[in-house]
Subunit: 210 residues, 2 copies
DNA sequence: GTCTATATACAGATAGAC
DNA sequence: GTCTATCTGTATATAGAC
């Protein structure tokens, strides 16, 4: 993966403080609107110390996004524990996933990475592969298993089905949220997931025997 | 709409050149990475002239995005001419729409507006309403008509159905493209649309009489 | 390693001649 | 209106003392 991972070896408290402060500021205001002075002040260190840990602003940004990559990958794996793949299980999975996607943290990292896609193309690709791409592949495998167990239409491409399920749940919410629109409350998200899973099962469920 | 429209009254060639140059640079490199010097140079005017037409960088950016809003709204209306709403007509509509969404221009304006969502929240909202929101509402009305004509399940919410159709077509393509991934070729886009419409009709079409 | 103070560069915006 | 030349602030990055 091009998203070179942060080594867990360095656990210096100053380094952690810098990363935390940088993440907060970059996510809130964007890469260009945050000065190294601001990061140093927020982290409670001097600028010289900051430059002792990171060779420059770009390196700091890369390290921060890299850490979020690993965190998101870990969360994706965590979601994988929500196992089964039909009916109530799909709804439960969808509820967890839509809350994750609509969380302020997720929206902020998406905005930030998309914004700097031109300046840091490798970072954007690495982010996709660590986050959305990994989740997509995992869901595709889950649906393939469900298909082999006869819970899904035999003529379906599991990866296409995964895209469809995700697309149905996401609907217009992601676009609205990314463009500063309101984030729905829990009840609204649940309703969206219920409707999406119902449609998915109508299209992909095996015809009930009559 | 909060996206105050650019008056077509001012057709000064220098103004047009500035807007064109600014749009090109902002879309390619992002708001913060483009200097007013660069815009002036690209437009072939001096910086003082630039400031004679626009009070500052933010005003220039707002004017550019505002123009794209009207252009996108016009294109949405144009798409509305692709009328009917089932089967082949939905596929045709989807093909036009996915090409529009995946076009370099569309991706660039989305990236730019999302990137500056924090600094220009009104602009982002206006963009949503002029672009994605308008298209969504239009599709919802079309599907409501189709429903009244018995071409769509009677128990469906047309706006939810619109979200589902759009989500099915978009799938993972938008996320991938926004994060710097490859844009699919025409054949791949057509295949995506065909699969999406097929699923949509399985879920939302009226059960065929037997 | 950590700090204060500073070098260097470039951005946005303007003054004044024509 | 348009240009050249310039002002002023601020950003990244570093030098040197402790």
């Amino acid at each position: 993966m091009s998203c070179s991972l942060a080594q867990p070896s360095d656990t210096s408290p100053k380094r952690s403080a810098i990363l935390k402060a940088g993440a907060q500021l970059f996510m809130a205001s964007g890469y260009a609107n945050v000065s190294m002075d601001a990061v140093a002040k927020e982290a409670g260190v001097s600028k010289a110390t900051l430059y002792a840990y990171f060779s420059g602003k770009e390196a700091l940004f890369s390290a921060i996004v890299g850490e979020r990559c690993t965190a998101i990958a870990a969360e994706s794996e965590e979601m994988a524990s929500h196992a089964e793949s039909t009916g109530a299980a799909l709804r439960e999975l969808g509820r967890v996933w839509i809350r994750f996607l609509m969380s302020p943290q997720s929206l902020a990292i998406h905005r930030t990475v998309i914004a700097e896609c031109a300046r840091f193309p490798d970072l954007a690709r690495g982010f996709y592969e660590a986050g959305p791409g990994r989740g997509r592949a995992w869901l595709g495998r889950r649906l393939a298993e469900a298909q082999q167990q006869g819970e899904l239409r035999a003529d379906a491409d599991p990866l296409v089905a995964a895209d469809h399920l995700v697309g149905l749940i996401r609907g217009d919410l992601y676009m609205q949220a990314m463009l500063g629109g309101p984030v729905p409350d829990d009840a609204a998200m649940d309703a969206v997931v219920d409707a999406a899973v119902a449609v998915f099962l109508r299209a992909y469920g095996v015809p009930s025997p009559r």
